[in-house]
Subunit: 276 residues, 2 copies
Amino acid sequence: MCQLLGMNCATPTDITFSFTGFAARGGGTDHHADGFGIAFYENRGSRCFLDNAPCCRSPVAELIKHYPIKSRNVIAHIRKATQGALELENCHPFVREHWGRHWLFAHNGDLKDFDPALRGDYLPMGQTDSERAFCFMMEGLRMRFGMAEPDDARLFEAVADMTQELTRYGVFNFLLSNGRCLMAHCSTQLHYITRAWPFHAAHLIDADMTVDFARTHAEGDRVSVITTRPLTDNETWTRFQPGELMLFADGEPRLRQRIDIPEDIQRANWQNLACA
Amino acid sequence: MCQLLGMNCATPTDITFSFTGFAARGGGTDHHADGFGIAFYENRGSRCFLDNAPCCRSPVAELIKHYPIKSRNVIAHIRKATQGALELENCHPFVREHWGRHWLFAHNGDLKDFDPALRGDYLPMGQTDSERAFCFMMEGLRMRFGMAEPDDARLFEAVADMTQELTRYGVFNFLLSNGRCLMAHCSTQLHYITRAWPFHAAHLIDADMTVDFARTHAEGDRVSVITTRPLTDNETWTRFQPGELMLFADGEPRLRQRIDIPEDIQRANWQNLACA
């Protein structure tokens, strides 16, 4: 399995602190050594940094740790390959354009035998179940809404429908963003924290590093961080329920819905988690 | 105006040497200081590194100079903004997907009043004439070929037709690749060189750096480098003719065609060049 990291903020914020802890898991404090990716939105576009070197010793990861790029939506992923070769085209996050915006998607899980017939609006470049799922969802958004971009509530509803469909194939923890909001779904394991005024100091689990957010953040700032496993050891992270889909906007959870995961799949997912 | 750099190779090759000379022009030896981008294909996908800091002092450019990423097709661009704000979404190369491949595009020039009605298959995220032109061309490929991916000859013909249409709007030097071949069109200024066995040493114009390619390249290697202005001072670069469109594959020029640029546009282009 892989690990996910997402950030949604009220004001542009850099992710160097969280990424430093997260990156250590890419072959350092954990075994997710099959490449990584991190993408930062700026307005409607994004820039994505990918590498197939283990995150804990990638020069690209080193750059990200020391180059404070400010963004309101970030998605990162470290890979432990289950499907697809160790090629760059299989590194998450995946990126596509719709409604003149970048859409970013990263997945932790394993969708078994998921091979949908796609129209061709979006086709995978690599071999992963994850990229197929993303193309399926993007095509679904085009089919539902055509050229009329939906608001967050209608978008969330559509993503919930498609998530319901996809969870039948197996473990489907994911992060999806259009640069305006960030959606997160948990099949097995996902946590989040929302930091707001008054901010406090936080200490990483995976590296001996503390940052006092009270010194770096102002009153209007608000930041939600979503990740597979908590990144800090002195804060309270909220665990997603299995099947929980949430939409974050302006740095806080705004919408949530429980996706009904079939019982046999849920059982298999837990077994999968126990092995991961 | 901006500057372009492209590389098409028979075998995966790193571009650190050429990029070192090219990057110096991004605010160092030349005044193209409004951001840069470089994208490397690996199989059907690519990874793109963008920054809105001047290329000559960007930490991202520094990484690229020292991280030898091997690729068969590379497109890079340093920006001197003519249209669109200094935002990242306006940095080239632009990326879209079709036929399960990334398509990359970078433009040097200025298309005046080019504002086509787009169907919505591809929409710009930024405000540049360049991204509009790219979306127009990608839509054109979808309209011509549907889901049946053409061979290089038919692709070249389609790109030539669309280039003919676009040159009516002004200066349209561009690089376009699908990861298999690289097409280059010259309105005003573009050069190329093809290096093959036996390789020789090359010395950069913009930095005191020499590489002896005879020591780093083998007999089957072949590399074409395409750039706005020659990068080395001890090799013979071929100047594109105005209106010349070329397709490079396996490291060498394979197809060429002369696009007919209307005389008044050509005259305006030269004046434009004189001011650039």
